[in-house]
Assembly symmetry: C2
Homo-oligomer: 241 residues x 2
Amino acid sequence: MGQKKILNISVDCVVFGFDTVTKSLNVLLIKRYLEKNNKVLVNDYVLTGYHKYEEETLDQTATRVLEELTGLKNQYKKQFKAFGDPDRLMNEKDLIWIKNEEFNLRTVTIAYYFLLKTDDIDLNKIDAKWFPVNKLPDVGFDHKKIILEAYEDLKEKCLSEPIIFKLLPDKFTINEVQDLYQSILCIEIDNRNFRRKLINKKYIIALDEKQVGVSKKPAQLYMFSKDIYDKMFQKNYLISI
Amino acid sequence: MGQKKILNISVDCVVFGFDTVTKSLNVLLIKRYLEKNNKVLVNDYVLTGYHKYEEETLDQTATRVLEELTGLKNQYKKQFKAFGDPDRLMNEKDLIWIKNEEFNLRTVTIAYYFLLKTDDIDLNKIDAKWFPVNKLPDVGFDHKKIILEAYEDLKEKCLSEPIIFKLLPDKFTINEVQDLYQSILCIEIDNRNFRRKLINKKYIIALDEKQVGVSKKPAQLYMFSKDIYDKMFQKNYLISI
DNA sequence: AAAAATAAACGTAAAAATGACGTTTATAAT
DNA sequence: ATTATAAACGTCATTTTTACGTTTATTTTT
């Protein structure tokens, strides 16, 4: 491409997806492997990320990084924090890895998280794997910290904004929404109360469709209307300290 | 100091203070002035900020920047966003300014906001001035954007966390808290309902003191107990989408 | 074709929180 | 002693939340 990299600034991306079968909030991680003289030096997982180019905005870098990994564009993303501790890449393992790479003076990284529909990614085509956010494997660099901070931000944000629907298929059941909230927040929610609350929202729209291929009573499908939500100008300013 | 600056990373600080007299949420800005041949080239205000040193964490840079301006340490701060558009310093005025300075390749800035008590700052000692966040002067660089994004983040955050007390004196009246919420959120709140709600919180503690030197019925003074608040483990997970 | 199993969906009543008001009280200034 | 004024208290209707028990629709099994 011939674009000039800014060597000590990178963007790292925490990609979240929800598995409706296992009811697990997952993170997409990339295998990192290095051996020399039959000795395994590095064998773990890391986030996807790359240097910022000089002509790019940070958002563009994040978009590019996601697209290079998954092929996906126009996904929901949020820049949530910058990480710049001088020792953030100073673990023994990471130093070995960095030595082996060309340029890796990524002193400061701007971290984003993405919310997308698991089904949109074909794992066979890419060198990455989903892991439950509550059961992460060995993670390199300071990326475990980054993942956990992304997760905290997501927990906060899903309480006040309807970003949860970015993680669900366009047509979903009430119970799927409940499962997702329960997974993210690690809480139990009463189904009858949750159901009533959600169905009463004008932007939760019942479709003329039910689940198919399910081995019990098929559930009603719903969709989220961003248009209606936006029109309602949902800033309720409830002070809940 | 002889510390190595990271040239294209800086930290900028939005310093918020609340004026209980004018009931205004204010931002601390620094005068920027440059003239050549009797012609005023730059005459506006900017945030306080500086390059990151290589051995510092981002938090340390922010703390240092605030201390250098105000002498204050241990103030509440939040890193809220990084700004890295390639053209963020490309206004004509800013280019003139940058040309006149030594190193100013601050491509990416990590922005923090601070919440502090206005009275802790002696304006006579420093070259800065308070401005109402809703009535900003001419602001240089992309700092107006940064201020407004800090303000949005503050609006959000004060709804779910008791950070508002960082802006008030240790001993405050109920009405001062109300005034502050009203200023930040630009809303009117019913005093009787607000008062009831706040007084019922166990971490809002009535003191054996009243206002002094006030020309009407002096109000009861209260304090916020962070200890009690933390013990209550106030995560109520109210889904309010 | 009937019965069983199961997840979806509905309902109700008490408790808590909120919203919208009117009234009283304590203090400083007159 | 009186007045002016901001602080502080109180009440009732409405809305929201919490905590449960019951019914219904569909698939699978018999």
